[in-house]
Symmetry: C2
Subunit: 281 residues, 2 copies
């Protein structure tokens, strides 16, 4: 792509991901232990206070952009002129080109909440889900899935050091990891990926979304909003996650680890190409 991509004015305010604290084990020995960062970051949209996110702080600008994208408060990257993170004041100021129409009204209804049980989603995103159309002309072979599962393991550096974080990856169907984000909040990790996708002008419609977290309603909603047809998790799912996945027709795989997985919905996009183990004869 020769055309220069549009970029808002951005700070580059990543926080260190881990810190060391002292702990004592059962034998009375001091064990220096890495812990994941957790910082409040209050989002201001055109000077209006919107929400405070608790974040690892590793990609705060992408997180802010992706949050606004996934909450449908901003329609396109070019509507944003600046994203300025200032950790001194624990704030992120986002400036839009023309302001956000009906901002007060859009943020008034903070009722539908996230899979963590008490999250915040503005507006009526569920209504939108009925209109989502995911591509049907696209498939994923199980061997490609196994490649992805294997590659994603190498990215989880914060989790390996400190635990207490969730990881999300955006990958090509060939298993190439395009982006990997870890955060103390799993919704933040998804939102940061959405922000990166806008910044890098990446189309989700032929991609795979991988998460270490559970497949709850909000996870499926956000993936479908990004038009991504494949959603893969190492963990399990909830009933509402399943129902929304059925509704959107997304290809949802859970318990994905090594060469194992369970395919819950959208199985027509999944091809079994891996050699089958021969029965013991």
């Amino acid at each position: 792509m020769a055309a220069k991509r549009y970029r808002p004015q951005l700070t580059d305010a990543a926080k260190p991901a881990t810190f060391e604290v002292e702990a004592v084990n059962g034998r009375g020995e001091m064990v220096p232990t890495a812990v994941a960062g957790e910082h409040p970051l209050t989002l201001y949209l055109d000077k209006m206070e919107l929400v405070t996110l608790m974040t690892l702080g590793h990609a705060p600008e992408a997180l802010a952009i992706g949050y606004l994208r996934n909450q449908r408060l901003v329609g396109a990257l070019k509507d944003i002129t600046a994203v300025q993170v200032d950790w001194e004041t624990e704030s992120c100021a986002v400036t839009t080109r023309k302001g956000v129409k009906d901002l007060k009204q859009k943020t008034g209804k903070r009722t539908v909440t996230s899979g963590c049980g008490q999250g915040t989603m503005f507006g009526s995103l569920m209504d939108e889900i009925d209109q989502v159309k995911l591509r049907k002309d696209i498939t994923l072979a199980d061997e490609q899935l196994f490649t992805l599962i294997d590659k994603v393991r190498k990215y989880e550096t914060i989790y390996k050091q400190a635990g207490a974080v969730h990881g999300c990856a955006l990958a090509s169907r060939e298993g190439e990891i395009l982006m990997f984000v870890e955060d103390v909040g799993r919704h933040n990790a998804v939102d940061a990926i959405a922000g990166f996708m806008w910044l890098e002008a990446i189309d989700g419609s032929d991609k795979v979304f991988y998460t270490t977290g559970r497949l709850t309603s909000e996870m499926v909603i956000k993936c479908a909003q990004m038009r991504i047809p494949f959603l893969v998790s190492r963990s399990g799912l909830t009933q509402m996650g399943y129902q929304i996945a059925q509704k959107t027709g997304i290809t949802m795989l859970g318990r994905a680890s090594g060469r194992h997985y369970l395919a819950f919905t959208g199985r027509q996009r999944l091809l079994r190409t891996a050699p089958q183990p021969t029965a013991f004869a």
Copy 2:
């Protein structure tokens, strides 16, 4: 206790915890799979819409009471006259005796958010943390801790069936499990415990709180609010969880599994009584 405990008028509207869905494994075999329930439940406090929680729905009345308690919207159980859950309308109506003073103002500032990254906490709970005094005249022996860790394993029935839930337990220091709650939202599990504690008139000041989830800021805040001096998790912690634990002086143990743990803060309440493994000579 001979005195009859006060009880608000309560429905008994527990939802079934798990549902079965069809999945296909990598060998093309159908695998019936249990999934955890996930249901929206909108809380109304004296007819004012407060929040929608996504919950397993296993203890919705205790959840509603504990949510109001932990958000400091209701000061005592006797202020609540009725808690009525109606799954048809996915709502829970809580009625108070005298109304809640400054309700609009108290719920206006929804900024400090949970460890899931995008949760909702009303008001300025952080300010309150400075005033929390946890008992100093109380200890926990590591053998008691190991008993608790062993017992809690037997309670996690939904997790074992379906995954995708977090469990919380309130226990005596002798390792007896007084309450165990699982939910798709880990904050919900904590809140339901807080609700049960009010309903059963249980004082937290000599108890142990166990969670399968991570020790994030909000988890530590809620435990301290309930005046519980011991917080134990199977998982890791975040930096802010650590900082708040230091501030409150809570005894916080992470990575607790089998006979292993790491003690992060408040170590003076922890006694090592277990026989030490003899060095190989």
